[in-house]
Point group: D2
Chain length 291, copies 4
Amino acid sequence: MSKRSDIAADEGRLLVQGPDRPGIVATVSAVLRDVGANIVALDQHSTDPEGGRFYQRTVFHLPHLSSMAAQLESRCAERIGADLGMEWQLVESHRPKRVALLASKGDHCLLDLLWRQRRGELPMTVPMVISNHADLAEDVRQFAVPYFHIPVTADTKGDAEARQLELLRGNVDLVVLARYMQILSPAFLRQVGVPVINIHHSFLPAFIGAAPYERAKERGVKLVGATAHYVTEDLDMGPIIEQDVVRVAHDDSVSELRRLGADVERQVLSRAVLWHCEDRIMRHGSTTVVF
Amino acid sequence: MSKRSDIAADEGRLLVQGPDRPGIVATVSAVLRDVGANIVALDQHSTDPEGGRFYQRTVFHLPHLSSMAAQLESRCAERIGADLGMEWQLVESHRPKRVALLASKGDHCLLDLLWRQRRGELPMTVPMVISNHADLAEDVRQFAVPYFHIPVTADTKGDAEARQLELLRGNVDLVVLARYMQILSPAFLRQVGVPVINIHHSFLPAFIGAAPYERAKERGVKLVGATAHYVTEDLDMGPIIEQDVVRVAHDDSVSELRRLGADVERQVLSRAVLWHCEDRIMRHGSTTVVF
Amino acid sequence: MSKRSDIAADEGRLLVQGPDRPGIVATVSAVLRDVGANIVALDQHSTDPEGGRFYQRTVFHLPHLSSMAAQLESRCAERIGADLGMEWQLVESHRPKRVALLASKGDHCLLDLLWRQRRGELPMTVPMVISNHADLAEDVRQFAVPYFHIPVTADTKGDAEARQLELLRGNVDLVVLARYMQILSPAFLRQVGVPVINIHHSFLPAFIGAAPYERAKERGVKLVGATAHYVTEDLDMGPIIEQDVVRVAHDDSVSELRRLGADVERQVLSRAVLWHCEDRIMRHGSTTVVF
Amino acid sequence: MSKRSDIAADEGRLLVQGPDRPGIVATVSAVLRDVGANIVALDQHSTDPEGGRFYQRTVFHLPHLSSMAAQLESRCAERIGADLGMEWQLVESHRPKRVALLASKGDHCLLDLLWRQRRGELPMTVPMVISNHADLAEDVRQFAVPYFHIPVTADTKGDAEARQLELLRGNVDLVVLARYMQILSPAFLRQVGVPVINIHHSFLPAFIGAAPYERAKERGVKLVGATAHYVTEDLDMGPIIEQDVVRVAHDDSVSELRRLGADVERQVLSRAVLWHCEDRIMRHGSTTVVF
């Protein structure tokens, strides 16, 4: 029914990025043609024709992809990696990403992702939900997803993160912070080994610190927004994936702002997760290219 | 043709605000009924039923409004001002606001306002444009609007503002900064005697300081926005009137971001000016109520 | 936590509509003041000062509202109904509407409403879900809501509607068609005795008939939308409550259009239900006023 | 200052479309590499990997493009046209499109395009404006653009179109109907020899025929929109380029709907013209691909 189930077993994605130079597209397409692959979709972006950075996402169809993958990889390594000095990544489209969801007490982002996954809207599996609270266990288990409750206090944070890492290691391709209200330590981020996506509210102008909705109300803002980004050690400042806003008015109370903010948060987070799982996002430094 | 020309000669607006207490709506409507006015539209907002602030905008139809105005004013002064202790303001709708536009070199906000005024979309007259540059003189004069060129340098700022005040005093009901790239001094703001509306770009997250579009590009923002606000001595932090955003992507260059930003700036500013000229905005402290 | 739980036991809403004439606002506010009520919010709209239609929604605070309601009703009947000839309705805000949800196989609108109700975002109770399919029974019952499966075929439609009416009669204040894929008969609509809200997809241009997403794809539309409206005997043509759209592109497949359409459908329907439950919508003929 | 002036003299665009088959991207990129071109941006879309249609827009940088163009064209003709059986088109990016604007009395779309062109936002020249009315002559000539007044009546339509064709033939690459309120005859469309873009209002649901804003008001629509499309003999049904909507409410009068509709019309039309002039739009049958 959904687009996701339409993905043919023989569809692959090839991501290439690096310093721009002539002939990259020609080389990539020759590599694919030489193994018998047909290009289905291709997006390419250069930040600057002179000395810029090159990004390319290619979706291709290759009969018997699984058995051909090793051969294709060795050609990519030789002609794209060694000869051109570019970073590359090969993905079999039909393999869903394994995504761990981290949550606290708020359910809106978490349930939206689980529900979209169940509908077949997100090409991912959810091997586990980890929460520092027990509140959402029942809701999560109704989706037949394991729920691990790992409390976190200032004293136990190190131990808690160690337990989280133990559960995650080798089992997931992505961690999504679905309104997880703890700050992950730099050590955790270095060790987790997979990308981490976060969602947070955003305002014009920005309100840093506590009680942002109360302050937005005081300032009479007319828009409430959300930003999804990759988590780096630079808190809330990682590469932006997606942003959106919703219009608010003077007769919206603080709790109404919060409700509208929650709505835009789950929309923005679900788009960010979808695009990540479709390998549409290429990161470099503080920016993203979203094809 | 336009809505504006539909305004009947006998339509008035009554604005009331102050500490909330029982019976205000009843008193205001009784005052209007007693002089024979019929309420056409009424918007009311209380920030809190207990100890909050009360705002009301009432549009009414009163035969022979001009000759009745003095009588109505004296009743408002007695029953709304003296008895209830509320601030009030009475406006004859058909009288356009007299609006001075201040500009520099950028034409997008200025020409959009002049063009909308000419089409009859904005219930205002434009008695003058003042600019610290000569560039836009010809464009402005094609709208039959006087253009006063008052250069501003660090040394001459005091004198320049004195000349501006001389031109403005008594001649305008509103000053609009249509991308006027000079900061008005606190002394100017105290002496100008009419509200001042400004427009500036806005980003998620906010970029303070120089070259905001360049920094937005570096951070890979997905939305570019604009905020219209009343100018206070607290730079760019006055009460917000209107905000909006436009979606941008990784393949938009800095100049493309600037173009899209200019588009949203002129939209947002024209809405703010329209609403001000229709007396839809009520200010209190750092916030606005926009009916 | 939510706005809804903030509703004081003593808050009421008074809705008034009818042919416009001078003095209605004054009368309504005097009626409220005379019983000791304080107006918290007031929205008023007249389609035309001369011979137009008048609409007013007033939210008020009245100590001991429940015990005062009879007295207030009799005054409304006399002064608003009899004297002015206006329709009026008095509602105690803290009483949630009782809402029956009708669904078929699609879960997106149904689960979104149930989840928002559980979060306290919608001031309603859901005494029952009725479906012509069994598919969603388990999902619904997890919300502790009764699920009644009433199959409908061309032959059994009359009987099925009779059973539906039996379940609904006296038990609900509103029926919401949450992607219920059967057309309700004129007889059902006459007998159900409460408003019925429906949601359907909308396109620019409109596509009537079968397979609308396929046809939208063929025509290369750039927007996919949804419309929530009250159901009348004039199929899909009842008074519009809310509409919204989402942007689509050439690389969205038909199933992607359907997914994006489902997203906008549940947003639009939840807003329409919220506004109805807050008594913000006033109907007259083919239009609505949404305060 | 603007993006447009950034276009290097040596930038070209190569558009390719036709039945999908393996190896097209590889061939196109090899053709470009062989002449020494570097790909700057590449967008590609296939409607279906099996038996679908292939679209590709490639932006490239080729030193001394003008002198190399003939050589590149002959290679495209041989390897893309003859060998692969694809349609192709080669464009030198720095050459602005020559665009004729046709208007009647309404100025909003016309002036917005002229103003954007003057600001350098649109990579086009405007060799002429043709109108069936004289009203806008002065406004247009202030932009130093020739204005030709060709009245049209039922009797003179054939002659008028003949004069229009005489003015246009050989002088323009695109005709834009900027609220031109005459229907072009099938004969005109066959003879004009260049694409024609139109803008018209759009509603949910659609209102066919006279007085659409009045009917939208009667039905209480919540969105007012606009659609830009290529003109075909099938009136208002040509391939859609761009659509957008703006939110309206019950207190917007018919003239207010018209004003908001005019705003969205000029936004949508300017985007459509920009994308056409950047060769971002590929047409096939009733649809467009907009890269």
